[in-house]
């Protein structure tokens, strides 16, 4: 049977394990290590353990190279890339995932609520990772500065561009004023004495017509 061998940091000796114990979102899990059915192999990543073994699919495996932050979870207070971490190396550690942030009685974590209030996501695929990295930052520092927030999230890839609203949500939580990066000016707000009207009961024939008669050929 395969077992996991790691080097003990105190004695520098090779330690062989036949089981791994993790505490995930407050619940203790004990896995046997080996190549039997159901065993954790020494090469299994934390992402695989969480997503495939425990069906905790909130964290995502996106780049598989520790570059994008979609798989971020918190281990002993630090955000880590779960796709680059071997589960057997985490024996005895405390892990918090996105599934563990919401409190059944108190409700959503303030970061989660702020992300809803400020619409701090688009497709939402990278969002659990961003929230976990932000959570780790706020656990260490209740009022991080705007640049500290950006720096903490520098390893989180978002291609839809939720950056502005993510930073808006987190800066509000941190109490940072004047950190706004996006301003939208509505022309209607500039009109003095606007004329509000009720919606039209009957839309125009163009708006409701079904035959395309506008081609000029």
């Amino acid at each position: 049977m395969d077992t996991a061998s790691t080097v003990c940091p105190e004695t520098s000796k090779l330690v062989t394990k036949d089981s791994v114990t993790l505490t995930i979102n407050g619940r203790r899990f004990k896995f046997s290590v080996g190549d039997g059915t159901g065993d954790i192999s020494p090469s299994e990543t934390l992402t695989e353990t969480l997503r495939k073994r425990l069906q905790m699919t909130g964290s995502k495996e996106s780049c598989g190279a520790g570059a994008c932050g979609c798989c971020a979870v918190i281990v002993n207070g630090d955000a880590i890339a779960a796709c680059m971490t071997l589960t057997v190396e985490l024996d005895g550690n405390n892990i918090t995932t996105i599934e563990g942030l919401e409190d059944a009685r108190k409700g959503l974590d303030p970061i989660q609520q702020a992300f809803i209030d400020e619409y701090a996501f688009q497709c939402g695929y990278c969002t659990p990772g961003i929230i976990m990295v932000a959570k780790a930052l706020f656990m260490k520092k209740a009022h991080p500065a705007p640049d500290e927030i950006k720096e903490a999230l520098a390893g989180n890839y978002c291609r839809c561009i939720s950056h502005y609203t993510v930073l808006r949500a987190l800066n509000k939580l941190a109490g940072n004023n004047n950190a706004e990066l996006s301003t939208i000016v509505k022309a209607s707000d500039l009109v003095q004495e606007p004329i509000p009207i009720a919606q039209e009961l009957y839309p125009s024939p163009y708006a409701s017509g079904h035959v395309c008669k506008h081609s000029l050929d």
């Binding site: 699919t57 909130g58 964290s59 995502k60 495996e61 996106s62 780049c63 570059a67 994008c68 979609c70 995932t97 599934e99 942030l101 919401e102 959503l108 989660q112 609520q113 992300f115 809803i116 619409y119 996501f121 688009q122 497709c123 939402g124 695929y125 990278c126 969002t127 659990p128 640049d147 927030i149 720096e151 520098a154 890839y157 978002c158 291609r159 839809c160 561009i161 939720s162 950056h163 502005y164 930073l167 990066l181 996006s182 301003t183 939208i184 000016v185 009109v191 606007p194 919606q199 039209e200 839309p203 163009y206 708006a207 409701s208 079904h210 395309c212 506008h214 081609s215 000029l216 050929d217």
Partner: protein, 773 residues
């Protein structure tokens, strides 16, 4: 007419922010994406890929892979269960006896676990005969170039896409007398510009599918596709005799790029057919970057002419498009690109803008946000810049004078002529946005920096683009008012609403917006309206959220369906209340007499017990309401290193009517990502010239914009109530960043005082333009 004379409606929901229906699932990690889902008895698929850019497969030995415990199928071109074509017109098969790019599919494997599938792929032995390869469209069309397909002699793809162009192929804008106009012009520019690095939109979620074979050529698919309808259409075309149903989940980013995913989808279908078990294929990040669809390559060789007022009077030239090794309806993108060019230069009456498509031994290029428009614009605007520079024009006035106005005519992707019924205020939007950006203070003239501080020079640039695809493709929807008596306790009329509409959420918020506009029609809380899960079988037909079409087309179909249901409810209430319909009104699912509100009836008591009141609505394609997106950018270039930083951005549009305030803001921001802005700055996709292998195969190698590189953004939004559908809105996301690449090159050129013509303007390119390298 002034903007202030436009009557602004006062809606209950429309225009305000409503949290997305799936917001709570997303922030708690419960939102389901394809790879979070599985089926009983599932197998995992992997692909054996070619290390050669062009090669003939001499021999494949799959015996070792087949005998590996846990392997259920190994399929090559020699034993495929059916012949699946690829491309329009069909020019190759999914599995071939040849490989056409580094990473092309050679064999597919299904196994009990991913690890076994990976090991089996390694055990497949392939003997190749390498063939000469060609990596640029210009080279591909040269005489004597290596030939890819028999179907395309000279590597040139047939023009036209019958699905989009029912009257016949449309591939060139041909009108007036460009030669005469050029001869008579005050300013003429001629150049060849390339936008051909073919960057990757790199959605965080890789393309992924599950296929289940249900017998009798019926397949059920689950896919990370942004459009179940398009995937169904294309798969049925390529899998002979098949009936395909497609289900989708939340999609982890797409940007138009994850629609058909044909290679993976057909492979999964083949493996499911052979094994009679469901098969899941999730592309790795390296596969997505190196083998999946990227942006089209573009080279424009053209002349452009303008009069003394800076109005463009002639365009004559050729747009050469590199589609890589598969052309999958790129002809539609050509049509849209040509259309968008005419919107930007709408006063020009003399055109001969031709186009050609070439196949090369690169990975397939296809649809990416901007849909052909960004690719052509990034080239054509460099010519416009040359004219503006020659005439010493301020770009702001040139764009204002040239952009499409209400009443201007243009050809769109179907080759038909349309006349704009859109906004009267696009020039005002450009000016107002410019004012907020500080254009008049920052613009110092052509090739003149805004400011220089030591080795740091700042410069500004701008661009304009628009799109008529926001009304593309037919779509229908059903709205059902269903009895739900719990609500009568909440002060409502005991009814809720279900919108049956096949749209998949990949980040645009349109599923929620569909509910929102229906709630507005019924004048009921947004929370009482829900939408069906996306899927091609259980919903009416909808082309999906592409081309920014969701706002108008889905908006129109669902509001008409809601109005239809409302009309039926009103007619039933009129009988029960003994009042004519025009005296009735509706609020919170209760119908009441307008002048005697105490005389009322809950909608739940109108239909027969347990039955719904059902409405139907549809949208039919047209292209007469172009959008307009103006962008401004300020950059700071290090004159010693050539490194460029974006200092600030601004974007402006007349959106007609805001449907959701934050959704619109996010759509404007979105133009920065998905291979838009940074195709001009650092998204440099280089091939190893000796092997044709892409050098960036991971997210460590592929350059992307981080949180601490996001510049301040100012948006300006006008709402001039454009006559599109009940709520008079336009869509914008498709083009919100499409002009940013050309604007960035203009800004960098101005900062350094020299013309940068190469995309992206990496430090090496900038230093070369400055004569330092």
């Amino acid at each position: 007419m002034q903007y202030r004379d436009i009557r602004q409606p006062n809606y209950r929901h429309v225009g305000k922010y409503s949290p997305r229906k799936e917001a709570r699932e997303i922030v708690t990690g419960k939102a389901l994406f394809l790879d979070d889902f599985s089926l009983p008895h599932i197998l995992y698929g992997r692909t054996k890929r070619s290390p050669y850019a062009h090669a003939r497969i001499v021999k494949i030995d799959t015996s070792a892979a087949e005998s590996l415990e846990g392997v259920r199928a190994v399929i090559t071109h020699e034993n495929a269960p059916f012949l699946a074509g690829l491309g329009w017109p069909v020019h190759r098969r999914v599995l071939e006896s040849k490989a056409f790019h580094v990473g092309d599919q050679v064999a597919i494997v299904a196994a009990e676990t991913l690890e076994i599938a990976d090991e089996a792929v390694d055990l497949i032995k392939v003997e190749y005969e390498p063939l000469p390869a060609v990596f640029t469209a210009v080279d591909a069309l040269k005489e004597g170039a290596p030939q890819l397909y028999e179907r395309f002699p000279g590597n040139q793809v047939d023009p036209g896409c019958p699905y989009f162009q029912p009257d016949g192929p449309f591939w060139q804008v041909n009108k007036g007398d460009p030669d005469k106009a050029i001869a008579e012009a005050d300013f003429v520019a001629e150049d060849e510009i390339s936008f051909s690095k073919m960057p990757c939109p790199a959605a965080p979620e890789t393309p992924s599918v599950i296929a289940r074979y249900d017998g009798n050529e019926h397949y059920t698919m689950w896919a990370s596709s942004q459009s179940s309808h398009i995937m169904k259409l294309l798969m049925q075309a390529y899998v002979p005799g098949s009936i395909i149903d497609v289900n989708t989940f939340n999609v982890g980013g797409s940007y138009g790029n994850k629609q058909t995913m044909l290679n993976a989808a057909v492979s999964a279908a083949m493996l499911a057919n052979v094994t009679k078990r469901p098969v899941k294929i999730v592309l790795t990040k390296a596969e997505q970057l190196m083998t999946y669809e990227v942006r089209l390559g573009s080279t424009v060789k053209a002349k452009m002419a303008a009069n003394k007022d800076g109005v463009v009077t002639a365009v004559k030239g050729d747009w050469l498009v590199d589609v890589g090794c598969v052309c999958n309806s790129t002809q539609g993108q050509i049509g849209v690109g040509l259309g968008e060019a005419q919107l930007v230069l709408a006063k020009c009456q003399n055109w001969f803008l031709d186009s050609h498509i070439a196949v090369t031994n690169r990975q397939q290029a296809g649809i990416v946000r901007g849909y052909g428009g960004q690719e052509l614009n990034s080239c054509l605007e460099k010519l416009l810049c040359a004219i503006m520079r020659e005439g010493n024009f301020n770009p702001l006035s040139v764009f204002k004078n040239n952009y499409v106005s209400h009443g201007d005519k243009y050809l769109w992707r179907d080759g038909r002529t349309y006349k704009s019924r859109s906004s009267f205020f696009f020039p005002d939007v450009m000016q107002e946005t410019a004012d907020r950006f500080g254009w008049s203070e920052k613009w110092k003239g052509w090739f003149k920096p805004t400011s220089v501080n030591g080795v740091k020079a700042r410069g500004v640039g701008m661009g304009v683009i628009g799109n008529c695809d926001i009304q593309e493709d037919n779509t229908e929807a059903i709205v059902r008012i269903i009895p739900d008596l719990n609500l009568s306790n909440l002060g409502g009329g005991g009814s809720t609403v279900i919108v049956e509409c096949d749209i998949t959420e990949s980040g645009m918020g349109q599923r929620s917006n569909a509910c929102k506009v229906v709630a507005e029609v019924f004048n009921c809380p947004y929370e009482w309206v829900s939408i069906t899960d996306p899927g091609s079988r259980n919903n009416p037909s909808n082309f999906g959220l592409c081309g920014s079409r969701g706002t108008i087309t889905t908006g129109k179909a669902v509001t008409e369906a809601a109005l239809d249901a409302k009309k039926k409810a009103m007619e039933l209430a009129a009988i029960k209340l003994d009042r004519p319909v025009d005296q009735l009104d509706m609020r919170d699912m209760v119908i009441y007499v307008r002048d005697t509100p105490e005389l009322s009836i809950p909608i739940s008591r109108l239909a027969d017990k347990e039955l719904s009141i059902v409405g139907y609505g549809k949208h039919v394609e047209k292209f007469d309401c172009p959008s307009c997106m103006v962008v401004f950018i300020e950059v700071e270039v290090d004159l010693e290193t050539g490194h460029t930083e974006v200092v600030q951005l601004a974007g402006g549009t007349d959106i007609g009517q805001i449907i959701d305030s934050k959704t619109l803001e996010m759509q404007l921001h979105g133009g920065i990502g998905s291979a838009c802005l940074d195709t001009a700055i650092f998204e440099d996709c280089n091939l190893d010239p000796s092997t044709g292998r892409l050098l960036a195969s991971s997210m460590i190698d592929y350059k992307w914009r981080t949180f601490n590189e996001i510049p301040p953004y100012t948006g300006f939004v006008m709402e001039s109530q454009i006559d599109t559908f009940m709520f008079k809105a336009l869509g914008i996301g498709e083009v919100s960043g499409a002009a940013l690449a050309s604007a960035a090159l203009m800004a960098i050129s101005n900062a350094i005082g020299a013309d940068v013509k190469e995309y992206p303007a990496t430090p090496a390119v900038v230093l070369k333009a400055m004569g330092k390298a």
